[in-house]
């Protein structure tokens, strides 16, 4: 199992965002966590790399309790791409260097190629990229830390159909290469397109997995 949630609750300003959620997320393929806006999907994802911690219950990662792991090492094993692209000041290469200061040109080129970006963009100011390119640059930036698991928080919600398609294909390739992906989305069509299995999060509860275990 990649992640195991046992009776996990998260409270935010008098509101129960997650209510005794228990679930097991396998360490293979793409697991989609679907559900309406405000259902607690992002919170569930943020628990996985300890950007948030539960108020009750416990989360395990590959058999180890998350709270016993070094958070910095964990975050390099469990990368995350946020809903809105977050370019840092400077070029694309500067952005990748934030994640891996010792990465050489070869490693950076490989990271861009993996996310279907032209390596010629390395010297370009990151803030001049298109929305789709920017989100894939953020994915490449995460990949240079060589994560074994990727958390994707509605990464294509601001993208048009074509860049969305490219991002989905890129993510599928990464899953085939052995990276475990947990993908949060409220887009059920996208969930059907990319998921190996789908969990539904509604009213703070993770309900029975729909479309379980697609081959």
């Amino acid at each position: 199992m990649a992640f195991e949630f046992k009776q996990v609750s998260v409270r935010r300003v008098n509101r129960l965002v997650l209510d005794e959620v228990s679930a097991r997320i396998p360490a293979a393929g793409i697991t989609v966590v679907a559900g309406p806006s405000g259902a607690g999907k992002t919170t569930l994802l943020r628990l996985c790399n300890r950007l948030d911690i539960p108020d009750a219950g416990r989360v395990w990662y590959r058999g180890q309790p998350l709270d016993e792991l070094d958070p910095l090492a964990l975050r390099r094993r469990v990368g995350m791409v946020f809903q809105r692209p977050t370019p840092f000041p400077g070029s694309v290469a500067d952005n990748l260097a934030v994640a891996h200061p010792d990465a050489g040109a070869e490693e950076m080129t490989a990271a861009l190629t993996r996310v279907a970006l032209d390596p010629g963009l390395l010297g370009q100011d990151a803030r001049t990229l298109s929305g789709g390119e920017l989100q894939r640059m953020c994915l490449a930036r995460t990949l240079v830390t060589r994560p074994e698991t990727l958390l994707l928080d509605e990464p294509t919600s601001a993208l048009d159909a074509q860049p969305k398609q490219v991002f989905e294909a890129t993510a599928r390739d990464l899953a085939v290469q052995g990276i475990t992906i947990i993908w949060v989305t409220h887009d059920s069509a996208q969930a059907d397109r990319v998921a190996d299995r789908i969990y539904q999060l509604c009213d703070g509860h993770l309900t029975a997995a729909a479309g379980e275990a697609r081959p």
């Binding site: 950007l51 958070p71 910095l72 975050r75 390099r76 990368g79 995350m80 995460t142």
Partner: protein
């Protein structure tokens, strides 16, 4: 000294306040009352401080009274900083720590290395200059860093999510805050003597000191203000980073100023 201001002279100088109030009346600014209140308040406050200072630094009085005065000044300055920027978390303790750190550095250099003799007459005004002149920069640094971390939360968390420790993830925002807080003081230091004559020097010359002596004292004061500003802002920034991130490298929730 023959150049001191007499009580009669002070009374005559009230004509200047009357001139300011007259302009307000003439232009219908409606500020006459505020001008008069401000002038009277300043006069009363300064007379009270003068009386207290006379007691504290009079010859033969133990220097511990002066140290007590300095401690009270540091504590009061911290409460003023807290009032000015209530949206900055833990500002009271952080400002107290930063003013104390600046006091250690500045008083240590100026008195430890015998730039000035350690007496109540030198200690109290120097500590006053230090606190008074670094207050604005201290509040600015705290406010700017809190704003940066709150407004750029996505960016900060993206850095944390890449495995950066909180201190490293906060560094770009800390640098921006420190630059913003220190630049005005550096500009003021550069313009001193060209654009304006600073207060300490003007006061010394008016009181009859030789201009060269006044320049030497003023230069030391400018340097102490520069060091005080750099020290207080850095201590505030480093302290805030410790408080705004948890030990397991998460950014705490930061309310917007409207929530206060």
């Amino acid at each position: 000294m023959n150049d001191t201001v007499s009580w009669a002279g002070l009374a005559v100088s009230l004509l200047l306040v009357a001139a300011a109030a007259g302009i307000s009346w003439w232009q219908r600014l409606g500020l006459q009352r505020q001008i008069l209140v401000a002038a009277v308040r300043a006069l009363v406050q300064l007379l009270l401080v003068g009386a207290a200072l006379t007691l504290v630094i009079s010859p033969g009085r133990s220097i511990w009274w002066s140290w007590l005065w300095v401690a009270a000044m540091l504590g009061y300055a911290a409460t003023v900083a807290r009032r000015r920027a209530p949206e900055v978390p833990h500002l009271l303790t952080l400002a107290l720590a930063s003013f104390t750190a600046a006091a250690v550095v500045i008083l240590g250099v100026l008195f430890g290395l015998h730039v000035f003799p350690l007496t109540g007459r030198t200690l109290v005004p120097i500590a006053g200059m230090m606190v008074g002149n670094s207050m604005t920069a201290t509040v600015l640094a705290g406010r700017r860093l809190t704003d940066e971390l709150r407004d750029k939360r996505d960016e900060v968390e993206a850095r944390l999510a890449l495995g950066q420790p909180s201190r490293q993830a906060a560094t770009p925002y800390m640098r921006a805050a420190l630059r913003a807080a220190l630049t005005p003081q550096i500009e003021t230091t550069k313009a001193t003597g060209l654009v304006f004559l600073p207060g300490a020097m003007t006061g010394l010359i008016l009181a009859g000191a030789a201009p060269l002596q006044a320049v030497l004292v003023q230069t030391v004061v400018m340097f102490l203000v520069l060091a005080a500003t750099a020290t207080t802002t850095t201590v505030i920034a480093l302290g805030l980073i410790r408080r705004l991130f948890t030990p397991d490298h998460r950014l705490v929730y930061l309310p917007t100023p409207a929530d206060h």
